[in-house]
Amino acid sequence: MATITLDKVRKVYGGSVEAVKGVSIDIADGEFIVLVGPSGCGKSTLLRMMAGLEEITTGEIKIGDRVVNNVDPADRDIAMVFQNYALYPHMSVYNNLAYGLKNRGMAKDEIDRRVKEAARILEIGDYLERKPRALSGGQRQRVAMGRAIVREPAAFLFDEPLSNLDAKLRVQMRVEIKRLQHSLGTTSVYVTHDQLEAMTLADRLVVLSGGNIEQIGAPIEVYDKPASTFVASFIGSPAMNLLKVKADGNGLALATGTGLKGANVKGRDACTIGIRPEHLEVVSGPGEGEGIHLEASVNVLEPVGAESYLYSSFADGGDEILVRVSSHARHEPGEKLYLRAAPENIHYFDADTGRRID
């Protein structure tokens, strides 16, 4: 168990492509950190640099008090779970778990004890003599985690470990990973592009985009106060509505000219406002209650069971806006909607930089 400290870590490929642009993160002992971002944001590269599979161009990575920049992956005291599991196909499950321990010259009975213990925790005891190809995806995933657990490392590194599983199994394994991490208390870094996975697993989220950190924070903090339009659109599903607005005489207006009543511009000429679909309320008439008022017409009603989503657009075209309504709400395409967002649920972002304005 240990802390992990990244200090201005950069990764440049081939002298010109900057995949990670000076990232600094302090990971506490026992913390579950999730690196999340779209593909190409540098999250996997960052993880692989912690693992020692990629060289660090500049900056410093410390595991515990030790700078590991030039330490071999095997000597970093970390264990990694790969997306495609990377089990050794010709070895039995037992040997898959034991291989890393054997290479460290551990005594046979200690290896046996650890493998049995990991198998018990993960409930894979019945498959120890099987080859990986005789296992289902979920079982392979458990074996891959077992291989990490037996090492009793200072940190677990997960590289999108659930993306090869089907949806149901993914949810089940997600819960299991969280439970396991809590009971073992091992520092963990988890990479995913799935914001739901990120929200549910993380003690703290690190949202990455284009090799930069967009925001670090607890999942609910990131959800409540996204630091930029990127985070706002990436965290939360369905994504936040982002509307470009500019100041007019009495408040704010959409780019197309439609005025928004009840909003203030915070002293700027233009900005982007963000409202989550779940924070838009259908009201019976214009100007009822506090906050921003919008008028839109329904395009499509999309029921998903527990709730429904209304795709609506403004009278003059332009941006489409997504509204969450109860699953029992009845709306017809073309119907006119009066929408309201409470002031505390409106996010303001700088029109140029996309950064949050408070």
Binding site: L53, P73, N84, L87, Y88, H90, Y99, R133
Partner: protein
Amino acid sequence: MKKLQISDHIILLLGVFFMVTPVVLAFLTSTHDAITIYKEGIQFTPGGEFLENYETVLFEAGGFTKEVNGFVMLKNSMILGLGFAVGKIVISMLAAYAIVYFRFPMATLCFWVIFSTLLLPLEVRILPSYEIVQSLGMVNTYSGLIVPLIASATGTFFFRQFFMSVPDELLEAARIDGAGPWKFFKDILVPLSQTMIAAIFIIMFVYGWNQYLWPTLITTDESMFTLVRGIKQILQVWVGAQIPDFNEAMALAILAIVPPVLIVVIFQSWFVKGLVESDK
């Protein structure tokens, strides 16, 4: 559909017929004595000399020096075939491992240089090869017979393609598990390559077994002769009015076929199994 099947079978049967008939005839002929064959030509029925003929070619010393018999030649061929196949596999696996997994300057160039040697078969470089082997004093030795032939562009190419298809994560997992380059090769790559090794072993063993030109050149001592070149030697012993020993030549030819056939039969089940179990 059914009609198609019948015609398929006819075509297959014809193919089998064309390929097997000469072998069967050679076998049948090899069970007669030399005089019958000389008088009547190829025999279509089994004769009564089976044991005698095969015993003669296997154990009775022949040739000019009366030092070599079929058994010795069989042994020589076996050593050449095995040494050739094993040597090729070892060399080409190591070469492919270096090319695929190690970043060294001009690795790709190295690969293409190796690959381009495919354009230079033994026949093209036979004089310089002989010159080198001869000046190293390796004429009439097993190493002289085998070593100059074991560098294999084909094998290197096959193993390179195979290694490139092994997922990188396996290497990374092994690195985190503390396996160095040698351990990774020994513990992961070699077991994974089993079926590839079996396939190349079959091809190379048969290829090595059938080598004619190089053994002819490099072995002048009859005790080093291989079967394939020995057959000719028997027919050359044609002193005065003696009838050529067609029966023995046929028997030797049959003996020369047996080991490669056995190798193919034994390894092909592995080979097929390997093709079916495709996951890496």
